[in-house]
Symmetry: C2
Subunit: 206 residues, 2 copies
Amino acid sequence: MNASSGRGPYAKTAEVRRRILEACVDAFGETGFYGATMKDIAKRAGISHTGLLHHFARKEDLLIAVLELRDERSARFLESADAIDPAKHPVEALRGMLTVIVDSELQPGIMELHCVLSGEATSPGHPAHTYFAERYRSVRRFYTDAYTALAERGELSSAADPKTLAAMTLALINGLQAQWLFDRDSVKMESAIHAFLVSAVPGLAR
Amino acid sequence: MNASSGRGPYAKTAEVRRRILEACVDAFGETGFYGATMKDIAKRAGISHTGLLHHFARKEDLLIAVLELRDERSARFLESADAIDPAKHPVEALRGMLTVIVDSELQPGIMELHCVLSGEATSPGHPAHTYFAERYRSVRRFYTDAYTALAERGELSSAADPKTLAAMTLALINGLQAQWLFDRDSVKMESAIHAFLVSAVPGLAR
DNA sequence: CCTACCGATCGGTAGG
DNA sequence: CCTACCGATCGGTAGG
């Protein structure tokens, strides 16, 4: 019953919080933020309704925590890859993006969470509206930096400017993921995105 | 008090139903199907809760009716345009699509409705799951027919096959609409989609 | 973290 | 027998 053993109250709290946030991914992914209920999330996590309230006092706190957890994992991936600076390593940045897409098919629950919440959050009153607005802006900047670097090297074949290409890239990924969730057999995400990238950056075909 | 006067019970029913479905577009667009309430929809439509239930006995009936109304309007547009047969008039079909995109910016409520509901409906248990699965499939077939016809004429410059191009086109439209709803100034839907179409079908630049 | 609750509101139905 | 609703309330469940 001490910290070094991996047991004790702190270890237990971390474990319970992990189970709760996993339950949130499923619950929010299935019915969205408005459709999910605290009592259902508690049941999925194997604790009582009030036990859940001990860890997260409000429903919004669950939403914030689950989105922050996703961000931390994404950030950790980007740090481990060479894709951290798209202006210096644009090809690696775009290739890293493709890796993430392929990987995301192994975690359909996460994809559904993002798809359902981002749709719900288009309304300005949604608690995650600002989160998604900033996330989209940030991802577009990432791609804009990569495409700008490639344009300066003369490796961009597309007629569209880097900013438009960035919005197109994000739109393509999100749109294909939505289609894939409805029909996993007839939508080939990786090849579609690869076709788009190669048409814009011929050097990526190598 | 006869049919030709535009008054009478039937005219009143049609008018009330129209107001109800307008309220549904707003309510479902803001909080999705699960988040919307019958009493809020009734209030928006200016009738009582039970008055609403007289016209639509269940919440799901409201969802079905509002989606069918959208389909009828889309069908009416396609009939009025030359885009009805993408295999015979592929260029007109793709140009007609661009017109719809431009027009959709004038109806952000409809765009939000589609965006929120399609995200929510990714879960198999959602009452509109099958609707969106079939709608996506149908739209992809429309584009596939257009791109296939262009490929046979040798007017397709893209390396991607018609089926993949169709999925990409739908993904681009849906993805850009989602981004536009979060940031209407920095996302140029029409120019982005036009850039994509021209890169795939050079003949469209004319 | 549980049992025991609250003010309110949910989707749907009663009689008139 | 039809329509277009109403005020009140049902048994359950919401977030807290």
